[in-house]
């Protein structure tokens, strides 16, 4: 029994490492393409976490939509667009700023870690572990129908906005 537990724990930390590695690659990349790959790796880790938490459906959706569609569309956009002449310029920030940023990040994470570790996380009394598609569908169209509908408005706004901003770029090029 304990072997499986260790395996599960190992997998969990594996996914965490995957998320962080992806984020790091994405941040440090100097080519846009590598950034997208980093994002895909990071999302793969998130999908793994969903699986670990017992919802294979969400894990599959994460793979299908976020990696399969979003990342591929971004990659497609980059390939269709003009070829970048060179990698992004690397301008290291001044040393003082870097030290300040590192200090601020460390302080914030120390504060968060300390509070998270010192909190007794009471499990909810009636929290069902039912992550089946049926349950998800019911809560999306019943309890959370308003947020669900708002997402569609949000996507519509985002799409129209993106189209128009792309068009502004065209005008700029023509002038």
């Amino acid at each position: 029994m304990s072997f499986y537990r260790y395996l599960a724990e190992g997998l969990f930390f594996g996914f965490i490492v995957c998320i962080f590695a992806g984020a790091f690659i994405s941040l440090r990349a100097r080519q846009l393409m590598n950034s997208v790959l980093g994002l895909a790796i990071s999302l793969l880790g998130v999908a793994g976490l969903f699986y670990h938490l017992g919802s294979p459906f969400l894990a599959l959706m994460e793979l299908l939509i976020n990696i399969g569609v979003v990342c591929v569309v971004i990659a497609f956009g980059i390939m269709v667009g003009p070829k970048p002449d060179q990698a992004a310029e690397k301008r290291p920030p001044p040393k003082r700023n870097r030290m300040l940023a590192a200090g601020a990040c460390l302080a914030a994470s120390a504060l968060l870690l300390w509070t998270v570790l010192n909190t007794p996380w009471n499990p909810a009394i009636a929290r069902i572990g039912d992550f089946t598609i049926r349950h998800l569908g019911e809560s999306l169209l019943h309890q959370f129908c308003l947020p669900f509908e708002l997402i569609s408005i949000l996507l519509l706004v985002a799409i129209i906005g993106a189209l128009i901003i792309a068009r502004i770029g065209r005008y700029g090029a023509r002038e």
Binding site: F144, V157, G161
Partner: protein, 473 residues
């Protein structure tokens, strides 16, 4: 009668739809302006008609009460005034004008949803709807202007993404501790958690920081001046006023949920308020661009209104609502003058104001009323608002805070009066006089009258605001 509950939102949807269809084909600017002016008045009428509605919709996720309906009226009034004060959209690219109005309607829709949202996910999504619409309209500025609008747009977008990340992170803690996203259920667990668990305080502060970004309060204020400077004049007058009102509504809801016993949260908010006032006022002293100046002034005003919120009592919340109404009117008065003076939609500096009292006496007078109001000189609405906010804080015993705020008001007098002095300074050569259309004249008179009248006779508005706060329940 469920339709009546959603009347303001549905009317805003209608406005968005109308402009969506306008965007499909060629449309004259005059037609668009008339449509926008008419539809915005219709939205205001719908909000007024839905004033007394009450109800809980969509499985406890959407709460319609006097509080939300009052905010919807203020929001649609703001939409009306911004559209009426910027006819012709001089600063906006010509092909993009229908879309511009479309996004204004959608942004206002997001804000009205935010004032009624009663569940964490709904709150997040409403905030994002208004934010996405605003990302889109900032780069609509005329291309012949400097290209700062693109910088402004990308900054607004990136920092908003960070703020949303922070907000979600905070929400995850609140959800983890409170086991619910419904504000109704959180109201039972959160007050005790805030006193016993430091993590609840951290989560709540992070959650609020996401909103502070829109309010331009201290830790999230840094990009405000760049965004205001880079956006077109009419866009800035929208961004500087309406989102802040909606955000104050949701901040009041969340803070009242936590309750007055959460002393640590009050302390943190007090520090933010003081920093915000001080930074805003000191930086505003050296500005020359009028929109940059108003940006720093809005950072300072975010601090003042937070003082009302952190009093966590009925008077404090009512004072904050009244203050935001005053802030809306006074800022729109200033932006109205800027828009009328900038014939090509350019950015103005103090030099552009010289001799204004001869060129356009009404504009000079409106600007003076706005500036006196923002300083807090009686009998304007700004004075009464500050007075109410400080009284609420004094009742809770925040003496140091009020003293610091009063010192800050004195500092702010310097740059606001600089505006008035520039407008009333005689010009060496006679400049061109500014001709105002009848609608601009009546709008100027309306702003002038409302700033003074609402300041002299605040009882009705404050009583209404107190009733609204009570209705939150």
């Amino acid at each position: 009668m469920q339709m009546m509950l959603l009347l303001p939102e549905l009317t805003l949807c209608l406005m968005a739809l109308v402009f969506f269809f306008c965007a499909l084909g060629p449309c004259k600017t005059d037609t668009l302006n008339n449509l926008a002016s008419g539809l915005s008045v219709l939205c205001l009428a719908a909000a007024v008609a839905g004033f007394n509605q009450e109800g809980m919709l969509f499985f406890q996720t959407y709460r319609v009460d006097l509080f939300s309906q009052l905010f919807k009226i203020i929001l649609t009034l703001g939409l009306c005034l911004t559209i009426w004060s910027g006819p012709g959209l001089r600063g906006i690219e010509e092909q993009l004008r229908p879309e511009y109005y479309l996004f204004l309607a959608v942004a206002t829709l997001g804000m009205t949803l935010l004032s009624s949202a009663h569940e964490l996910l709904t709150i997040l999504l409403s905030l994002e709807i208004s934010a996405f619409a605003l990302f889109a309209i900032i780069p609509f500025r005329h291309q012949t202007m400097r290209r700062e609008h693109l910088e402004a747009a990308i900054k607004y977008f990136l920092f908003s993404a960070i703020a949303t990340g922070l907000l979600l992170y905070g929400m995850s803690y609140v959800f983890g501790l409170g086991h619910s996203t419904l504000l109704g259920e959180l109201a039972q667990t959160l007050p005790a958690l805030m006193q016993n668990e430091p993590l609840a305080v951290v989560g709540m502060v992070m959650l609020l920081c996401g909103f502070f970004y829109k309010l331009a309060l201290f830790p999230m204020h840094f990009l405000t001046p760049d965004v205001y400077e880079g956006s077109a004049n009419e866009t800035t007058s929208f961004i500087a006023t309406l989102p802040k009102i909606a955000v104050i509504a949701i901040i009041i809801r969340l803070v009242s949920l936590v309750g007055a016993e959460a002393v640590s949260l009050t302390w943190i908010l007090a520090v933010f308020a003081v920093m915000s006032m001080t930074i805003g006022n000191l930086c505003a002293l050296v500005q020359n661009d009028l929109k940059r100046l108003l940006a720093y002034s809005s950072i300072a005003h975010a601090g003042y209104v937070t003082i009302g919120v952190l009093s966590v009592n009925q008077i404090g919340f009512a004072a904050a609502i009244y203050y935001m109404l005053g802030y809306l009117l006074m800022n729109l008065a200033c932006f109205f003058v800027i828009y009328q003076l900038a014939a090509e939609g350019e950015n103005l500096t103090f030099d552009h104001l010289h001799g204004l009292y001869r060129r356009a006496p009404l504009l000079a007078c409106t600007l003076a009323a706005g500036a006196f109001g923002l300083t807090g000189i009686p009998p304007t609405i700004g004075f009464t608002g500050k007075f109410m906010v400080f009284t609420a804080a004094l009742q809770r015993g925040h003496y140091t805070l009020v003293i610091l705020a009063v010192i800050n008001s004195a500092i702010s007098a310097f740059y606001y009066l600089k505006l008035v002095r520039a407008a009333y300074r005689p010009m060496a050569e006679s400049g061109e006089s500014v001709t105002l259309s009848w609608s601009a004249t009546s709008l100027g008179l309306f702003l002038l009258a409302s700033i003074i009248l609402a300041g002299i006779l605040p009882q009705g508005i404050i009583a209404l605001a107190q009733e609204a706060v009570n209705s939150m329940g």
